[in-house]
Symmetry: C2
C-alpha cells in the first residue's frame, strides 16, 4: 500500500498540513481523496500537489479556506456567479476626477430623472417576509 498513494499521516507530513486539517479541507469540499476499501483516505500526487498549492494560495493572499470554498461555489454555480457579477456591475464607479459635490449633484439629477410615474419609487422598500 506504500506503493501509489499516501495515507493521511504521510500526506500531512509531505504537504505541511496536519491530518486534522486534511480532514477539514475535505469537509470543506476542497480536496476529497479516494478511499481504500476499508475507508482509508488515499492521497495521490495530484492531491498532494493541490494541497501544497492550496497552502501557498492561502498564505500568499492571506485568505481562508472558506474563501476558497466560496470561490469554488462561484466557480460551479452559474446562477450565483451571474448574480454576484450583476451586483458588481451596478457599482457606482464614479470617476476619481469628479469632485464629490459635483457627482452628488449628478446623482441627484439622476434621481429626478428617475422619478418617472411609470416606475416604482426607488426609495420604496417592501419587506420580503
Amino acid at each position: 500500500m506504500t506503493a501509489g498513494a499516501l495515507t493521511i499521516q504521510q500526506a500531512a507530513q509531505t504537504t505541511g498540513w496536519s491530518a486534522r486539517m486534511l480532514r477539514y479541507v475535505e469537509d470543506a469540499g476542497l480536496i476529497e481523496p479516494l478511499r481504500s476499501p476499508a475507508g482509508y483516505r488515499l492521497y495521490g500526487p495530484a492531491e498532494l500537489q493541490r494541497l501544497r498549492t492550496l497552502r501557498a494560495l492561502l498564505a500568499e493572499f492571506d485568505i481562508g479556506l472558506t474563501d476558497v470554498g466560496f470561490a469554488q461555489r462561484l466557480h460551479r454555480d452559474a446562477d450565483l456567479r451571474a448574480a454576484v457579477d450583476h451586483w458588481f456591475a451596478a457599482a457606482p464607479r464614479r470617476p476619481e476626477h469628479v469632485p464629490a459635490a459635483d457627482w452628488l449633484r449628478w446623482e441627484q439629477d439622476k434621481h429626478q430623472r428617475l422619478l418617472n410615474p411609470t416606475l416604482l419609487d426607488p426609495y420604496a422598500f417592501k419587506e420580503t417576509a
Copy 2:
C-alpha cells in the same frame, strides 16, 4: 437636504437594513455612500438599489457579507483571480463513470510517469519558512 439623498436612518428603513449594518457594509468596502460636508452619509438611489439587491443576494444564496467582500477582491485583484482559477484548473475532475479503483490505478500510473528524474519528487515537501 431631504431633497436628493437619504440619511442613514432613512436609507435603513427604506432598504430593510439597520443603520448599524449600513455602517458595517461600508466598513466591508461594499457600499460607500457620499458624505455631506459635515460628514453625514448620503445614500442616493443607486446606493439604495444596491443595498436592496445585496440583501436579496445574501438571502437567496445564503452567503455572508465576507463572501461578497471576497468576491469583490476576486473581481478587482487580477493576481488573486488568476491564482484561484489556476488552483481550480488543477482539480482532479475524475469522470463519474470510471470506478474509483480504476481511477486510482490511473493515478498511480500517472505518478509513475511523473517520476521523471528531471522533475522534483511530487511527494517531497519543503517547508517554506
